[in-house]
């Protein structure tokens, strides 16, 4: 990296690192989140277990073992799902402290994207490790061998997943930044955020893995940006998408990331012209 790039990126790197360190302090929230995730994981698996046992259909789009790993990955990486805007940005817009944010000699979109990076990773680091430990080690000890989180399908799948995971983070942060921007339209923004939250949770595959959606819906849900947040990378992990097809996954994720960043920046530029800084 050249010296000029280093200086150009310095503010954003500083924000990511400060916010990351700050968020690592919220251990109580992490423990609370961990319990929630374990509980949800077990409930989901109970439902799928019953579904797979009672189903007469032979050719399932995914095996039960694949669904189990898919579900646990989703719970482990729940904090990375961009289902809400940055709480700090929301508070700043409400209180008017966003004024300071606009007084910084940095690109506001870049600043909010940097915040999102820290916000999507720090809690994940805190929660993913203990959850994976629970789902891989503790569950078999409890006699729930069938419900355990399996390792990646192969070394190739693991490498492919690592790449898809990075793109999943970039895409998630683009969506988070977009939601932050929509908050500038204070009241209507909240509605847009709710709609986005519902779309992200449902169409990412976080509730029901996308291959289990009806056939007619497949082309639509697979084309939407949300698939790149959960479904595509997870299916790479379990080998449902073979490692040599990962290029298509990465292309999907990166194209959507670029599109969302461009849209977010355009929206922010518009929002800045009509912004009303609350209060005083």
């Amino acid at each position: 990296m050249t010296a000029t790039t280093a200086i150009a990126l310095r503010p954003y790197a500083a924000i990511v690192s400060a916010r990351f360190r700050m968020l690592l302090q919220y251990r109580a929230a992490a423990i609370g989140g961990l319990w929630t995730q374990i509980f949800f994981g077990l409930v989901f698996l109970g439902v799928y277990d019953a579904f797979y046992r009672s189903s007469l259909q032979q050719a399932h789009p995914m095996s039960f073992a694949q669904v189990v790993t898919y579900v646990w990955l989703g719970q482990a990486l729940w904090a990375m799902l961009p289902w809400n805007p940055d709480g700090e940005v929301r508070a700043m817009v409400r209180s008017g402290a966003v004024a300071y944010e606009l007084c910084r000699p940095v690109d506001l979109y870049g600043l909010w994207y940097a915040r999102a990076l820290a916000w999507r990773t720090a809690p994940t680091v805190l929660r993913a490790m203990p959850l994976c430990l629970f789902a891989t080690v503790v569950l078999p000890l409890l006699g729930l061998e069938e419900w355990r989180l399996a390792p990646p399908a192969s070394i190739e799948s693991a490498i492919a997943f690592a790449a898809a995971f990075v793109c999943m983070l970039l895409l998630g942060c683009a969506l988070t930044a977009l939601m932050n921007v929509s908050l500038l339209w204070t009241l209507n923004g909240e509605g847009a955020v709710l709609l986005m939250a519902a779309s992200v949770t449902f169409f990412s595959g976080m509730i029901i893995p996308l291959p289990l959606f009806p056939d007619w819906a497949q082309p639509i849900v697979q084309a939407l940006p949300f698939a790149g947040l959960v479904d595509l990378p997870f299916r790479v992990y379990i080998g449902h998408i073979p490692p040599h097809d990962v290029v298509a996954v990465l292309r999907h994720q990166l194209l959507w990331t670029i599109a969302l960043v461009v849209f977010g920046r355009w929206l922010l530029a518009r929002g800045m012209r009509r912004i009303v800084v609350q209060g005083g």
Binding site: R10, A14, A18, Q25, L102, C103, P105, G279, G280
Partner: protein, 335 residues
């Protein structure tokens, strides 16, 4: 050769806000779903002034007069409807990033420090955000720490600071990149007397010794009297007056106040050339026009008629002046 440009030029600035209104109550909320009423409020209605480098200007007006709106436009946060604004040759909202690197801003009611981080960490973060090289950062930071007495606060998280401590830290935070221009939006709001004095003292030194241009909005008239050589008074988006403090006084009223402490509080003080404006136990306050009656003569008349313990002549407080300018004298509220 072109004349040197003033540092800050503001010309005919207009800013309107659309405020949505709805009738109160449940029915109003339901109607609001279908039909929203909007009202346009003119926050600024043609504001013009220029500032030279090194000025310390008080920008005052009642709530909602447009003070903060002006500051926010100058800081590049809001975009005005029309009008011109140039600061250091730049249009704030067009070249926001280059512009904000040269200004410092403090909004008294909010903090720019990171709530959960120790003060020192916030300073480091600001150093990185403003891309100040470490070798330049250290002397600036150390000097601010010494001037504002921040040493004992550096390790404390911001949420644990008192309001006065926080404001001192916020002032330092706004100046870490050594901006030539500082905007202070109600910096003494809610502070105790000691903290206010510390802030005023610091701002005065900053202006006199460093030549930093300061625009200060405030409700605290003591701030204005202690700090500002020039005062801009604004109400309803218009500038009512712009000049030195004494010019402002002379424009509004030539009146002086004579305050006497009587030995006998029962006595009635009266004079044909003065009006009684306040009476509080032993203390009586008379207003007079020095062009109608000289202060010496009035004092002589009063002292010859009454036994008094003490007396002094003063200007009416700036509150009274400004209130009269707004057309609403506080005297009318007194018995």
């Amino acid at each position: 050769m072109p004349q040197p440009q003033p540092q800050i030029v503001v010309e005919d600035l207009v800013k309107t806000f659309r405020v949505s209104e709805r009738a109160p109550g449940v029915w109003g909320a339901v109607r609001g779903l279908v039909h929203r009423k909007h009202r346009t409020v003119r926050a600024l209605d043609g504001i013009s002034f220029t500032l030279e480098a090194g000025e310390l200007v008080g920008y005052i007006g009642p709530n909602g007069a447009g003070k903060s709106t002006t500051v926010k436009i100058l800081a590049g946060i809001l975009v005005p409807e029309s009008g011109r604004c140039e600061i250091l040759g730049r249009v704030p909202w067009k070249e926001r990033i280059a512009h904000v690197a040269g200004i410092g801003v403090v909004f008294g009611q909010r903090t720019q420090l990171w709530w959960d981080l120790p003060v020192a960490d916030s300073f480091e973060l600001l150093r990185d955000i403003y891309r100040v090289p470490q070798e330049r950062h250290v002397p600036i930071r150390d000097e601010l720490i010494a001037l504002l007495d921040l040493e004992p606060l550096l390790d404390m998280p911001v949420r644990q600071l008192s309001l006065g401590q926080r404001m001192r830290c916020d002032l330092a935070a706004a100046l870490l990149h050594a901006p030539p221009i500082l905007f202070l939006d109600e910096p003494t709001i809610g502070l105790d007397a000691v903290s206010k004095l510390a802030i005023r003292d610091f701002v005065t030194r900053l202006n006199r010794e460093r030549g930093v241009t300061v625009i200060l909005t405030t409700h605290d008239m003591d701030d204005i009297e202690a700090l500002c050589t020039r005062v801009i008074v604004i109400a309803d988006g218009h500038i009512l007056s712009d000049g030195t403090l004494s010019e402002l006084r002379n424009r509004v009223t030539r009146e002086r106040w004579l305050t006497v402490d009587l030995v006998n509080p029962e006595e009635h003080v009266q004079d044909p050339d003065a009006t009684l404006i306040r009476r509080d136990g032993h203390r009586v306050c008379l207003a007079f026009d020095p062009q109608r009656i000289s202060p010496a003569e009035l004092i002589q008349r009063v002292t010859s008629a009454h036994a008094i313990r003490d007396l002094f002549v003063e200007n009416p407080p700036i509150e009274t002046i400004v209130a009269r300018l707004y057309g609403e004298s506080p005297r009318s509220r007194q018995p």
